[in-house]
C-alpha cells in the first residue's frame, strides 16, 4: 500500500500534463491492462517519455521539421539514418512522433536483437514502444496500423567512427520488401547532430565480441549536448510486384537519396555542433 502511494506521488512528479494528454490522444488499441502484445504500455510510456522530454527539449535542444508529413493514423515506415553509438536518434524521433502537434503517434522503434537481454533496459524500451528488429514483428505491427521506425543501416551506422560522419552506410533491404508487401508509405528522416553526441575514434572489436555487443566505441562515456535536428520528408510510395532484388535495391537507393538530401538540409540549418 505504502509502496503504491509512494509510486503514485513519484509518478505525479514525473509525468507532465502535456505528455499525459498527448499519450492519451494516441489512437492506439491496448488490452485491459494498457499493454499491447509487444509490451507497449500507455502508463509506462508516459513515465519514460516524461523522463526523456527534458533531454529532448533542453539537453539536445531538438528541432523537428516536416512533422506534418507523418500521417495521423494508419501504417507508416519512418526510415532514418543511424548514428551516435547509442540509440539516441531513435529516442528523439520517438519523442517527436509522440509529441507531434499534428497528431501524436506511438513510436515503434526497431531495436537491436541483443537489447532485450539487458535487465531493466529491454523492458523499459518495450514499454515506450520499441521492439526487436524482426521482420515478422515489423509486418505484424504495420498490419496493426502502427508507425514503425527503422534504421536500415543498423549497427553499421550507429557504430561508425566520427571520421565517417554523415556518410550513409549500406542499407538493409528488408524495409523496402515490407513497404511493398504491406502497402506502407515511407517517411524518410534526416537526423543531424547525433553524430556529434558521442564521437567515436574507433571500435574495440575484441572487447565488443567478449561482451556480446555489436561494437564497443572508443568514445566518451557521456553524450555531448550537441544540437539535434530532425528533418521529416514527404511520404514516398512504392508498390507493385517485386521484380528482382536489383529492382528493390534501386528503390532503396531512392530512399537513401531522399535521406541524404534531408541530412544536407539539416546541416545547412545548423551553425555548429551546439547551436
Amino acid at each position: 500500500m505504502l509502496k503504491n502511494t509512494l509510486w503514485q506521488l513519484l509518478r505525479h512528479r514525473i509525468v507532465t500534463a502535456d505528455i499525459e494528454k498527448q499519450i492519451d490522444n494516441i489512437p492506439k488499441p491496448v488490452g485491459s491492462f494498457g499493454y499491447d502484445p509487444w509490451g507497449y504500455n500507455r502508463e509506462g510510456a508516459k513515465v519514460w517519455m516524461s523522463l526523456f522530454k527534458p533531454l529532448y527539449d533542453h539537453y539536445f535542444r531538438v528541432e523537428a521539421f516536416g512533422l506534418e508529413n507523418i500521417p495521423k493514423q494508419g501504417r507508416v515506415l519512418i526510415i532514418a539514418n543511424h548514428s551516435g553509438q547509442l540509440p539516441i536518434d531513435g529516442g528523439m524521433i520517438g519523442m517527436a512522433l509522440c509529441t507531434n502537434p499534428h497528431g501524436p503517434r506511438a513510436p515503434r522503434a526497431m531495436i537491436e536483437r541483443w537489447i532485450p537481454t539487458l535487465p531493466f533496459i529491454g523492458n523499459a524500451l518495450n514499454e515506450a514502444g520499441a521492439v526487436i528488429g524482426d521482420p515478422e514483428n515489423c509486418a505484424k505491427m504495420l498490419r496493426n496500423e502502427e508507425a514503425v521506425i527503422v534504421f536500415p543501416e543498423g549497427a553499421r551506422g550507429a557504430g561508425k567512427p566520427y571520421k565517417k560522419r554523415y556518410q550513409l552506410q549500406g542499407f538493409g533491404q528488408g524495409f523496402m520488401h515490407l513497404a511493398i508487401q504491406e502497402k506502407t508509405p515511407i517517411i524518410p528522416v534526416g537526423v543531424v547532430g547525433c553524430e556529434e553526441t558521442i564521437p567515436s575514434l574507433g571500435n574495440l572489436k575484441s572487447l565488443a565480441k567478449l561482451l556480446g555487443m555489436p561494437y564497443f566505441p572508443i568514445a566518451l562515456p557521456i553524450p555531448l549536448p550537441a544540437k539535434i535536428i530532425l528533418e521529416f520528408g514527404e511520404p514516398l510510395y512504392f508498390d507493385g510486384d517485386i521484380a528482382s532484388e536489383a529492382h528493390v535495391e534501386a528503390q532503396v537507393n531512392q530512399v537513401k537519396s531522399a535521406i541524404h538530401m534531408l541530412i544536407q538540409q539539416g546541416l545547412s540549418r545548423r551553425k555548429g555542433w551546439f547551436k
Binding site: G31, S32, F33, P37, G122
Partner: protein, 315 residues
C-alpha cells in the same frame, strides 16, 4: 440405448478435465481416466485409474466403443524428472494414439502448451502456429512437451482418419488449476527476475474447457494456439493477484537457475527461467476464427479470483 458418442477423457483428476467433462456430459458418454487416481466425477460417468503405457489400458477400448479422445492428462513439469515424464507423456501418448487407430476412434484432441515455442529474446510477438518449436533447444526438461507435439503432428498427417486437433493454450489459470504459473499466482510471495517482466497471456480454465468442447464438437483438425487477445507483464499480473514480489538476481543466467535449484522452487523451476525473462506471446486468432470462439473471462476475473481467495486464506 442412446446414439450418444463415447469420449475418453484423460487427466480426469485435473481441474481442466473436470470442466470439460461438465461441459460435454449431457451430449456424450464420458469415460474418465487418470494415471494418478480413480477420480470421483459426475454421476453415470465411468472412471478409471490406469497407466496409458500399460497393456491393461487396452481393456478400456475393448470394453467401450470409444468414438473420440480428449487427451488432457499429462505428468506435470514439477511432478517428476524428465526421463519419467518422457515415458508417461510421449510413449504413453504414442500408445494411446495407436489404440485409437486400432479401435477406429475417429476424433482426437491433444492438449499441448505454448511452452513448446520456447522463450527467447528473439521471439516476435503474436507467434502463429507455423513458428518453429524451439523449447527443446533451451532445456532438456521440455523435450517431452515438444516430442508429444511432434508425435501428435506425425499422426495428424499420417493418419487423417483420426481427425487430430492439437491445441496450444497460453497460461491456464483459475479454480483448481495446479500448473506452475497458477502456483505462482496463488503464492503470497512470488519470485521475479530483477529487470525482467515479460508479456504474458492467461486464459480462464472455464474458457479453456469451452475451447476444448467447441473444438471437439466442430471437429476441424489442425494445430491451433488458444489465447485471449489481452496481455499483461508478468510482474503486473503477480501484483494484481496480491503477490509480494521477491526479486531474484537475473544475471548471469546461471545465477537464478542455481538459486531456484537450491531452494527447490517447484513453481519457479530453473528450466522455466527463460519464460520469466522473455515473452512468448501467441496469436489465438486462427482458433477464434475457425471455431467462432470468444473467451468470457477477463484478466481481471482471473486475478480477482486469486486475490480474493488469498485474502480468505483459501489458496
Amino acid at each position: 440405448m442412446t446414439n450418444k458418442k463415447t469420449i475418453l477423457i484423460t487427466g480426469a483428476g485435473g481441474a481442466l478435465a473436470q470442466q470439460v467433462i461438465a461441459q460435454l456430459k449431457n451430449r456424450y458418454h464420458i469415460i474418465a481416466v487418470d494415471f494418478r487416481r480413480r477420480v470421483q466425477t459426475h454421476e453415470g460417468i465411468h472412471s478409471y485409474k490406469v497407466d496409458y503405457h500399460k497393456r491393461a489400458f487396452e481393456d478400456l477400448f475393448r470394453k467401450h466403443k470409444i468414438d473420440g479422445l480428449i487427451h488432457i492428462g499429462r505428468m506435470g513439469l514439477y511432478e517428476s524428472d524428465h526421463y519419467h515424464r518422457y515415458n508417461v507423456n510421449v510413449l504413453g501418448t504414442q500408445k494411446l494414439l495407436d489404440l485409437c487407430r486400432k479401435y477406429q476412434v475417429n476424433q482426437v484432441i491433444v492438449l499441448s502448451t505454448y511452452f513448446v515455442y520456447g522463450a527467447s529474446p528473439y521471439n516476435p510477438a503474436l507467434i502463429t502456429e507455423d513458428f518453429p518449436l524451439k523449447a527443446s533447444e533451451l532445456t532438456m526438461d521440455l523435450v517431452d512437451s515438444v516430442e508429444l507435439e511432434n508425435l501428435a503432428m506425425i499422426y495428424l498427417w499420417k493418419h487423417p482418419e483420426l481427425n487430430i486437433t492439437i491445441l496450444r493454450p497460453c497460461n491456464i489459470a483459475g479454480p483448481g488449476v495446479l500448473n506452475s504459473m497458477s502456483l505462482l499466482l496463488s503464492r503470497k510471495i512470488a519470485p521475479v527476475l530483477m529487470g525482467f517482466s515479460p508479456m504474458m497471456q492467461f486464459i480462464h480454465v472455464d474458457d479453456m474447457a469451452r475451447a476444448i468442447a467447441v473444438a471437439f464438437q466442430k471437429n476441424i483438425p489442425g494445430v491451433y494456439n488458444v489465447a485471449t487477445a489481452d496481455w499483461v507483464a508478468y510482474q503486473k499480473a503477480l501484483q494484481h493477484c496480491g503477490c509480494k514480489l521477491l526479486p531474484v538476481p537475473s544475471v548471469p543466467d546461471i545465477l537464478p537457475k542455481q538459486i531456484s535449484k537450491l531452494l527447490g522452487w517447484k513453481a519457479f523451476p530453473s528450466y522455466l527461467m527463460n519464460y520469466y525473462k522473455y515473452p512468448v506471446v501467441i496469436d489465438g486468432a486462427l482458433f477464434d476464427k475457425t471455431f467462432g470462439f470468444k473467451a468470457k473471462s477477463s484478466l481481471d476475473d482471473i486475478f480477482n479470483y486469486c486475490r480474493e481467495k488469498k485474502a480468505l486464506n483459501i489458496l
